[in-house]
């Protein structure tokens, strides 16, 4: 197994490789190694947009070797929340890193002028990106494809104008359709004048026991394709949840004023599949093909002249830029997703920022003077498009504030009770009940994917659970996902990677772990992350919960503040008072 960390210092223009066997032995890879490297690289109180703040990319022992282990984790200090930044992306990045021979990459410093990094096996070059600074994320990919080698086995990750402008929730586009979306990695790239990173490699991985390897590979592969554990992702995709959650009253609508959307059917996964889906793609090494691509065809003249844009969609962008903004047409949602893709904005944060602004304008906290006459109103796709562009251009104080996230804007203009963030991160699209709220609040990166509180809510609807049972489920998921995210697997495939299958697949690459080892690792990873969070000022006992969560009926009925408070009390107690 490779055990190398590639260090790149943009200030000095240098790079070198260190063998870090012990680091990988103790922390596996992926997020385990990521958090430890962050602790090494990022002293307390570092400005996340300063040269002293690192970018860490890491993969794990299964990436490229077993099916559906397709993710790379980015670890950094978030310019949005000021604490732990962690984001996962698929595409071809983990495979490219594997074959380039680097299980982790640490990027330090700040380039003197716009630059991009080119990694080709052991060769690392920092190249001038002045001529592509300011170019949208998609076109940047097109240009670099022509310039760099490694066709068919490389990964190109890049920022758009939002990252360059340091919008606090700018993302990094990975291989056109995937993203390090959340928590502002794009702004960290921008602050380092780092436009892109291209990775490719030609290494070959030898496994210790080929027969065993094939046996485990085949078993995992068959589970992924022949059973129904991943069926949902294979067919309609994650957007199948639009209709489900709408029906359950769990689909956040118009900034959580409602939890069901009368026009929901028009933006359902079924509707997208019927009207716009034209292609499905896979991350390298995954047979499922969950990446759904829609063709958005618009006429630009009356003479049958069309422009066609290819836009990837999923549940989350349809929630954030669709129901959450009252956009009731699939075309409108695709238009807004496409704008975010080009600018390089995180779709979830962008949607929640706009929904807050729409309500704030409606309620008179801001006026058309602040919006510079851009009409922010539900379903106003044209206005929203202009507003997104303004967030990046920051032509006035208001748009500059929007670029710093909902918390920042609401502290300045009011409306905190409906500024929909948890832990400073704009929330995802599940108003399913108390576990979703608690899960995102306590989660290490304040994501619904930290511990899937929404799934706990859904379980609790079927079979009632008390506060303690829900908290126990959240803690269990917190820890087990720390292991899975160290491998680094796709969370859609968590059904494939049972504890037994994880142990077997690790064994096949020569890493011997017991159930207890893994459980201990999951807990240790969680604790290290919380250490970093607390060091940077996160205080769970004082975390803000927007009142709106308690005012709008959820899939589990009206959520009582007492339930959430009780769950948080129990959680803190079980976690040793963190």
């Amino acid at each position: 197994m490779l055990r190398k960390v590639l260090y790149i210092d943009l200030s000095k223009g240098e790079s070198w490789v260190e063998e870090r066997h012990e680091l990988f032995e103790n922390w596996m890879g992926g997020t385990g190694v990521g958090i430890r490297l962050l602790q090494e690289e990022c002293p307390a109180g570092t400005d996340p947009l300063s040269p002293g703040a690192p970018i860490i990319l890491s993969i794990g022992p299964l990436n490229g070797i077993f099916p559906v282990a397709t993710k790379t984790v980015a670890t950094f200090k978030s310019p949005l929340t000021g604490e732990l930044g962690e984001s996962y992306a698929g595409g071809r990045l983990s495979l490219a890193l594997r074959f380039a021979g680097h299980e982790a990459v640490v990027i330090r410093g700040q380039a003197g002028r716009p630059s991009y990094i080119s990694i080709n096996d052991g060769e690392v070059k920092i190249k001038d990106a002045t001529s592509i600074w300011g170019i949208d994320a998609q076109t940047t990919g097109v240009i670099l494809r022509d310039r760099e080698s490694g066709v068919g086995r490389r990964s190109i990750i890049r920022i758009g104008p939002a990252g360059e402008a340091l919008v606090r929730y700018a993302g990094v586009v990975v291989d056109t359709y995937r993203h390090f979306g959340r928590l502002g990695l794009g702004a960290v790239f921008g602050s380092k004048k780092l436009k892109a990173l291209v990775v490719s490699g030609t290494e070959t991985v030898d496994v210790p026991d080929v027969k065993r390897y094939k046996e485990v590979y085949n078993r995992l592969y068959k589970t992924a394709v022949q059973t129904d554990v991943m069926e949902k992702y294979h067919d309609i995709g994650t957007s199948v949840n639009i209709n489900v959650l709408n029906w359950l009253k769990g689909l956040p609508t118009k900034n959580f004023l409602l939890s069901s959307f009368p026009e929901g059917e028009n933006i359902s996964g079924e509707m997208f599949a019927e009207k716009h889906l034209f292609r499905r793609l896979s991350c390298a090494g995954c047979p499922i093909g969950c990446v759904h691509i829609a063709a958005l065809k618009t006429a630009f003249s009356t003479h049958h002249e069309f422009e066609v844009r290819k836009v990837s969609y999923d549940y989350e962008p349809i929630y954030s830029l669709g129901s959450n903004l009252g956009v009731g047409e699939a075309e409108g949602v695709l238009q807004l997703i496409d704008v975010c893709e080009r600018l390089g904005l995180d779709v979830m944060s962008a949607g929640v920022v706009l929904s807050w602004a729409t309500e704030a304008l409606e309620k008179g906290l801001i006026t058309r003077k602040e919006t510079m006459d851009v009409p922010l109103q539900w379903n106003g796709v044209e206005g929203y498009t202009r507003a997104l562009e303004n967030i990046v251009k920051a032509p006035n104080e208001f748009y500059a504030a929007l670029g710093k996230g909902v918390d920042y804007a609401a502290k300045k203009y009011g409306g905190l009770e409906y500024a929909m963030t948890l832990g400073g991160n704009e929330v995802s699209g599940y108003h399913t009940g108390p576990a979703s709220i608690v899960g995102q609040l306590v989660g290490v990166r304040h994501s619904h994917l930290d511990n899937a509180g929404y799934a706990v809510d859904q379980k609790a609807v079927k079979k009632p659970m008390d506060a303690e049972m829900m908290v126990d489920e959240i803690i269990k998921e917190d820890n087990s996902r720390g292991i899975f995210n160290s491998l680094v697997g796709c969370l859609f495939a968590r059904g494939v990677y049972t504890e037994e299958n994880i142990i077997d697949s690790l064994g096949a690459v020569g890493i011997i772990k017991t159930k207890e080892d893994l459980q201990d690792l999951g807990k240790r990873i969680f604790e290290e992350k919380y250490k970093f969070k607390v060091q940077e000022g996160f205080d769970l006992s004082r975390a803000r919960i927007p009142r709106r969560f308690y005012e709008t009926v959820s899939a589990a009925g009206l959520v009582k503040p007492e339930t959430v408070e009780e769950m948080l009390r129990l959680y803190r107690k079980k976690r040793g008072g963190s």
């Binding site: 097109v142 068919g152 070959t204 390897y213 590979y217 394709v225 793609l281 047979p287 499922i288």
Partner: protein, 175 residues
């Protein structure tokens, strides 16, 4: 499944032939059991159904070489304009009159009477003539400067989730 097993058996046979230093290929030929007058050939049945998972490439290198590698794969999934563009599935066409074997100056690529082309690694000089001769780009030099060649075993077919690939039976051609 039995089809695949048979194909893999045939492939192993080919592999054996490739592994052993063959000094008298003609004698080997006479000994080679040709049970039917048919051979198996890989075919790209539905290239437009490819989702770019690269499962076939991994299956190829895993089955043939026991490694995890894209370089060791004889089948190639190429992108044109990144993942936004269409995938190109490159496989050996199992030509009746294989230009790769014709171009080989040392006889390392040898056409058998049944139409299969076998590779004798030991007498290959790594000149790259085979690579130049194949317009499709199905035969390429790997890391050791030796051609990575499809043996039509069908391992990739089994790991294509979308039925892009097919293993077909064709009449064995005359030597």
């Amino acid at each position: 499944m039995p089809e695949i097993q048979a194909a893999i058996r045939a492939a192993e046979e080919t592999k054996k032939a490739e592994a052993s230093p063959v000094l008298k290929p003609a004698a080997k030929d006479a000994a080679a059991p040709i049970k039917s007058k048919k051979r198996r050939r890989l075919k790209v049945a539905h290239p437009e159904r490819c989702i770019g998972c690269l499962g076939c490439m991994f299956a190829c290198s895993r089955t043939r070489t026991g490694t995890v590698s894209l370089q060791n794969s004889a089948i190639k999934i190429q992108t044109q304009g990144g993942i936004e563009g269409d995938f190109r599935v490159v496989v050996c066409r199992g030509c009746e009159d294989p230009p790769c074997a014709r171009a080989c100056p040392t006889g390392a690529l040898e056409k058998r009477p049944d139409g299969r082309v076998v590779f004798h690694k030991d007498i290959c000089t790594g000149c790259g003539s085979c690579e130049k001769a194949c317009l499709v780009g199905a035969i390429t030099l790997g890391k050791e400067k030796k051609p990575v060649k499809c043996i039509h075993c069908g391992a990739c077919v089994e790991f294509c989730p979308h039925g892009v690939l097919k293993l077909e039976e064709i009449p064995a051609s005359g030597g």
